[in-house]
């Protein structure tokens, strides 16, 4: 019988596609293309949408902005969410064998890619429509049908551009995937801005700089009592302070250090004796996936809870899931935060004082995050085809065996490491995230973790690139 995926065949010719490069792209050009797409993304994430009513409503998605690389009220309102959603949906469908596709066959692979793109285009459109209909930019009747259509068009077009950029990068014109690149740049932008923002705020206490570094210099130059100046720069509560900045650096360093923990297994190819390859199993075996999944999971709980709460704020059952309130009006950005119920307990404590005030919350949050990360880490190996079973099967099919373990099954050796690495790695990632949140690191724990892992992946790709060039030269 024809597979479901074959239904996509008739529309392949009309979907936009990035052509594969005919020859290998030199490294210099890769950097060029990556920078270009980064620039386009940056411009998009700073261009305000046309036709939007600036409602002072709270931002329901502030939690997801970090991992979705989205900016409120700009062309990048959707961020990479269409990409991520599409990727996850397709992977789940394939992983659960709902869509049967043999990724080893070239034809199926082409069809699968096309299907993914079609789903991506549709998801973007659907999300844009959903955003406008849900009244994020004001009631549809208030902004008018014309404006509503215009907003949908802007969001969809920007989303499609992003989709194409991602495809271009993945086709070998750039380094790594677009999703990671955009997320990393988004977080880095936040961190740099929080450190060097030239915005000044005067609340009657005197002019203060928003950026932590600038504030430090400002206070040092202005205050007569230098000691007081330094302590204020380090510890001020209302705006980003130097402690957060240092915490951010600390988490960066810790994360990079832990990235290097790995078990180096050696494999040998049975067909070409003497050819050995290291097969490292990293502690962060699943990279940043546990934290992405955990964040997505939490965001969904938030989303549902918030929706329910807005519908009927007084139902006790709904209160059990989550009670929401808008943050105090004097802070610069307004968004609703959970104040009790399940949603409250799975949210990170906002500041250190809050943590001391409600230690049970902190403990619950810690336990929840660690457990969720461990479970997601373990599950992800199954979904992404990196589980013991999949890896051992690939090795067997390619006649690759572990060096020094002739009489032991490959699967048995791998099962000594992979499940532990996946689970423990998930826990470590979760722990770092929690630590970052407790220390008040800039850009949120999840954001920093994502950025570091992404940057490290880039670095590894870069090192590999160099190594392959060198070995090519060596063979010449």
């Amino acid at each position: 019988m024809p597979k479901a995926i074959h239904l996509i065949r008739p529309i392949i010719p009309i979907i936009p596609e990035v052509e594969k490069p005919t020859s290998a792209i030199p490294f210099r050009e890769k950097v060029l293309w990556t920078t270009c797409s980064l620039l386009i993304y940056m411009v998009c994430s700073n261009l305000p949408l046309y036709g939007v009513q600036r409602a002072r409503s709270s931002d329901p998605f502030y939690w997801m902005r970090v991992i979705l690389a989205s900016n409120r009220g700009t062309l990048m309102e959707l961020g990479v969410s269409p990409l991520v959603t599409t990727g996850m949906v397709m992977q789940l469908l394939v992983g659960a064998k709902v869509v049967d596709v043999n990724l080893d066959a070239k034809e199926d692979r082409v069809l699968y890619m096309a299907a993914q793109k079609v789903v991506g285009l549709l998801v973007t459109l659907a999300m844009a429509v959903a955003y406008v209909l849900s009244g994020t930019y004001g009631d549809v009747s208030a902004i008018g049908l014309g404006n509503a259509i215009l907003i949908v068009a802007q969001l969809t077009a920007a989303g499609w551009v992003l989709l194409m950029l991602d495809e271009m990068l993945q086709r070998g014109y750039g380094m790594g995937s677009g999703i990671s690149l955009f997320i990393a740049s988004h977080v880095s932008e936040t961190i740099v801005w929080k450190a060097f923002s030239p915005i000044t705020i005067n609340t009657g206490r005197g002019t203060e700089f928003e950026g932590a570094c600038l504030a430090f210099f400002h206070l040092i130059f202005v205050r007569r009592n230098k000691f007081q100046a330094i302590s204020e720069a380090l510890l001020r509560q209302n705006l980003p302070n130097l402690t957060s900045l240092m915490a951010t650096c600390l988490i960066f360093v810790a994360c990079i250090y832990m990235q290097m923990w790995r078990v180096n297994l050696t494999v040998k190819l049975q067909k070409a004796r003497g050819l050995e390859r290291p097969y490292p199993i990293k502690l962060f075996y699943t990279s940043n996936m546990p934290i992405i999944l955990q964040t997505a999971f939490v965001s969904n709980i938030y989303f549902v809870s918030q929706m329910l709460y807005n519908q009927s704020p007084n139902s006790p059952f709904i209160k059990l899931i989550g009670e929401w309130a808008v943050t105090s009006p004097d802070s610069t950005a307004q968004y609703s935060v959970p104040v009790s119920g399940l949603a409250y307990y799975i949210s990170p404590p906002a500041t250190f004082s809050v943590l001391l005030h409600d230690p049970f919350h902190a403990l619950f949050y810690l336990m929840f995050t660690l457990t969720a990360c461990a479970v997601f880490g373990r599950t992800w190996t199954e979904v992404s085809g990196t589980s013991v079973r999949d890896v051992a099967r690939q090795m067997r099919d390619n006649q690759v065996v572990m060096k020094g373990h002739r009489d032991t099954a490959t699967a048995k050796i791998l099962s000594r490491y992979i499940p532990i690495a996946a689970t423990l790695g998930g826990i470590c990632i979760g722990l770092l995230t929690v630590l970052a949140d407790y220390l008040g690191a800039i850009g949120s724990g999840t954001g920093i973790l994502l950025t570091v892992t992404i940057i490290y992946d880039f670095y590894e790709a870069f090192a590999r690139e160099n190594a392959s060039v060198n070995s090519m030269m060596a063979q010449m």
């Binding site: 000044t200 002019t207 700089f209 494999v267 004796r273 690939q394 067997r396």
Partner: protein
């Protein structure tokens, strides 16, 4: 609308300038320190023999002292830093006088210590209010304002409501409206300047930035591997082939793209000088195949160096020659890599030998003994005729110091130099071993990746020490000792050629290549110094490859073979659900039950999956039986 704020901009500028000048001053001071106080070893100006003394003092002259800082980058940075520091100071003092942060601190206003007692506060208030009371200071607005502030400060410290307001919002009157501005100069927003600002922006973004990128890119794209120009590589490709001899190599080096601008003869005097030198070196020179003045000049200068006749060169030509010699090492390496690409062992070895001659300043027909300090043709003749006689440098080194010939006309010090030099000259032993890096059987079979392990031992270097710089008094730059290890077939094809640069006493170098078809082979292993003439090793490496059919077949471990039967996590979960739904224990049955309940789609999916699984199992079994396997999917997974 964001307000632009000049005074805030001062602070922004101040902060960024600080961020620039602090590391910049550090690097400037560090550079100066290195220029003034670096030791002789750091710049490679060692003088172990008196022959090296002149080279060391030259090196000290050129790479020490303040004039080494005379580079464009350093000067630009220095001027920029000075400028920024001046701006910094100016900004700092102007900010000090007017940029007081207008924060409300009641303790400062009352001129008491922070956290003073209530009694003290009251006392201070009374004193201050008496002094600044408007009745006492008529027509003095300054005093009146101060009086108001004092009253406010007193209130903030005594009235609980005002105190709370002050602590929370910084103002005893309660929350003030939030004023947000941005630290950028106000003139940017001025309507009159709008066109100018836009124009500047446009010029910078549209013209300057792309031009800068283009300039950088076009410059960097001229250089290939190891910072050697692509044009040089092209020139070498054109001029080197398997018949290239050492004596034609100076011309090849002289034509490198790096020298083309510098070696252009500009004046008639230049040309005359080249003609004069050419007449002197012509007898040692191969007939030039290029008559281009640039190539000819380089060629002549190099020959002057190789035949030790640099004393006839003018100061300018000497500079040009030094410039060529400075780049010669990396360019000769590039020539060798071109030979490697052409797979020609002989020309590669010729290039290495040419490098040796350049380092020692001698030429093909010269005796190896000329490497020793103070030696001339005269002494070489004595050594050759003497008893014990020596033709090669190795033989001469083997002779005990007291019976070495040819030293009659030397002073004690010069003799000492020669003995010292004999200690510095390398004494290398080479061992080789061929094997396959495998944990079961290290015999070589066809198609294996076999390893030639080359162990170099420097016998003249004491245990635990490292090889120092090369003794090359005629080469004006410090040079590190390295060995070229080349493996080639008897037909002269290169299998591998690498520069082994490690200065350790014992160096291990691995050459890996795919074993050829079953049979007996002999390869040539050459180990050549990068700077000394006459220390080349040549060895024969034997390799016997066996037929791979003797190897045991690859067997899948039984546990691994069953991998396909193991359910995935999802299947496990699904099965768990199914089992929970139905009472039957057997899976087949439960599937059947499930099928009845689910839609058509579900049945097809499941059955198809089953059949696919069976197919896979069959395939796996087949693989066990026959050793024929498809190559198509091999490199996919573990190629990374």
């Amino acid at each position: 609308m964001l307000q632009y704020d000049d005074s805030a901009f001062y602070f922004v500028a101040l902060s960024f300038i600080t961020l620039y000048i602090v590391p910049s001053w550090y690097s400037i001071i560090n550079n100066v320190r290195v220029a003034l106080f670096s030791t002789d070893e750091d710049i490679g100006a060692v003088s172990r023999t008196s022959a090296e003394k002149q080279k060391a003092s030259e090196l000290k002259k050129t790479s020490k002292g303040l004039k080494t800082l005379n580079s464009t980058g350093f000067i630009v940075n220095f001027v920029l830093t000075l400028l920024c520091s001046a701006i910094f100071l100016w900004l700092y003092f102007s900010v000090q006088s007017n940029g007081e942060v207008n924060s409300f601190d009641p303790f400062t206003i009352l001129q008491i210590d922070t956290g003073a007692e209530l009694k003290e506060i009251k006392k201070a208030y009374k004193k201050m209010s008496l002094r600044y009371h408007p009745d006492k200071n008529p027509n003095n607005p300054q005093a009146e304002a101060t009086f108001m502030m004092v009253a406010k400060a007193y209130e903030a410290l005594t009235n609980p409501v005002a105190k709370e307001n002050w602590e929370k919002y910084g103002n005893p009157d309660g929350k003030q409206s939030l004023a947000v501005s941005i630290g950028l100069p106000e003139f940017l927003l001025n309507v009159d300047n709008r066109n100018l600002v836009l124009l500047t922006y446009l010029i910078v973004m549209v013209i300057v930035v792309p031009c800068a990128v283009w300039a950088y890119y076009s410059n960097s794209s001229k250089f290939g591997e190891k910072d050697v120009m692509y044009d040089s590589y092209a020139w070498y490709h054109h001029n080197l082939n398997e018949h290239t001899l050492t004596k034609s190599l100076p011309e090849v080096l002289a034509g490198s793209a790096e020298f083309r601008e510098r070696n252009l003869t500009k004046s008639q005097a230049d040309k005359d000088e080249i003609g004069k030198v050419l007449a002197r070196v012509k007898s040692h020179m191969q007939k030039p195949s290029y008559n281009h003045p640039v190539v000819l000049k380089g060629n002549v200068l190099l020959h002057a160096h190789l035949t030790r006749q640099t004393d006839v060169l003018s100061e300018a030509s000497m500079e040009d020659l030094r410039f060529m010699l400075r780049y010669s090492s990396s360019l000769i390496d590039a020539m060798i890599s071109v030979c490697k690409h052409q797979e020609s062992l002989k020309s590669a070895l010729n290039c290495v030998k040419f490098g040796q001659f350049v380092a020692q300043g001698m030429w093909i027909k010269d005796s190896e003994l000329l490497q020793l300090p103070h030696f001339t043709e005269n002494e070489v003749g004595h050594v050759a005729k003497g008893k014990p006689s020596a033709k090669t440098i190795k033989e001469y080194m083997a002779i005990p110091n007291e019976s070495k010939k040819g030293l009659k006309e030397f002073t004690e010090e010069q003799k000492e130099d020669i003995f010292k030099c004999c200690d510095i000259l390398p004494n290398l032993t080479v061992e080789t071993k061929v094997f396959v890096d495998d944990d079961e059987d290290d015999n070589v079979y066809e198609g294996d990746l076999c390893t030639v392990l080359v162990t170099l031992t420097r016998n003249n270097v004491p245990e635990g020490e490292k090889a120092g710089l090369v003794h090359a008094p005629r080469f004006p730059f410090p040079r590190r000792e390295a060995w070229w290890v080349a493996l080639g077939t008897k037909e002269g094809k290169i299998i591998s050629i690498d520069k082994v640069t490690s200065p350790e006493r014992v160096v291990v170098h691995k050459i890996k290549f795919l074993a050829p078809r079953a049979g007996h082979y002999e390869f040539d292993l050459h180990v050549l110094s990068n700077a000394y003439v006459g220390f080349d090793h040549e060895e024969s490496v034997e390799l016997t490859t066996q037929d791979p059919s003797a190897l045991p077949e690859y067997k899948v471990h039984p546990d691994d073979a069953e991998l396909d039967d193991e359910p995935t996590l999802f299947e496990e979960m699904m099965n768990a659900n199914i089992e929970a739904d139905s009472d039957s224990d057997e899976e087949e049955d439960s599937d059947g039950d499930d099928d009845d309940e689910s839609e058509e789609e579900g049945i097809r999916e499941l059955t198809e999956e089953e059949s696919k699984k069976r197919e896979l199992q069959k395939k796996a079994r087949k693989k066990d039986d026959s050793d024929s396997d498809d190559d198509s999917d091999v490199e996919e997974v573990h190629a990374d």
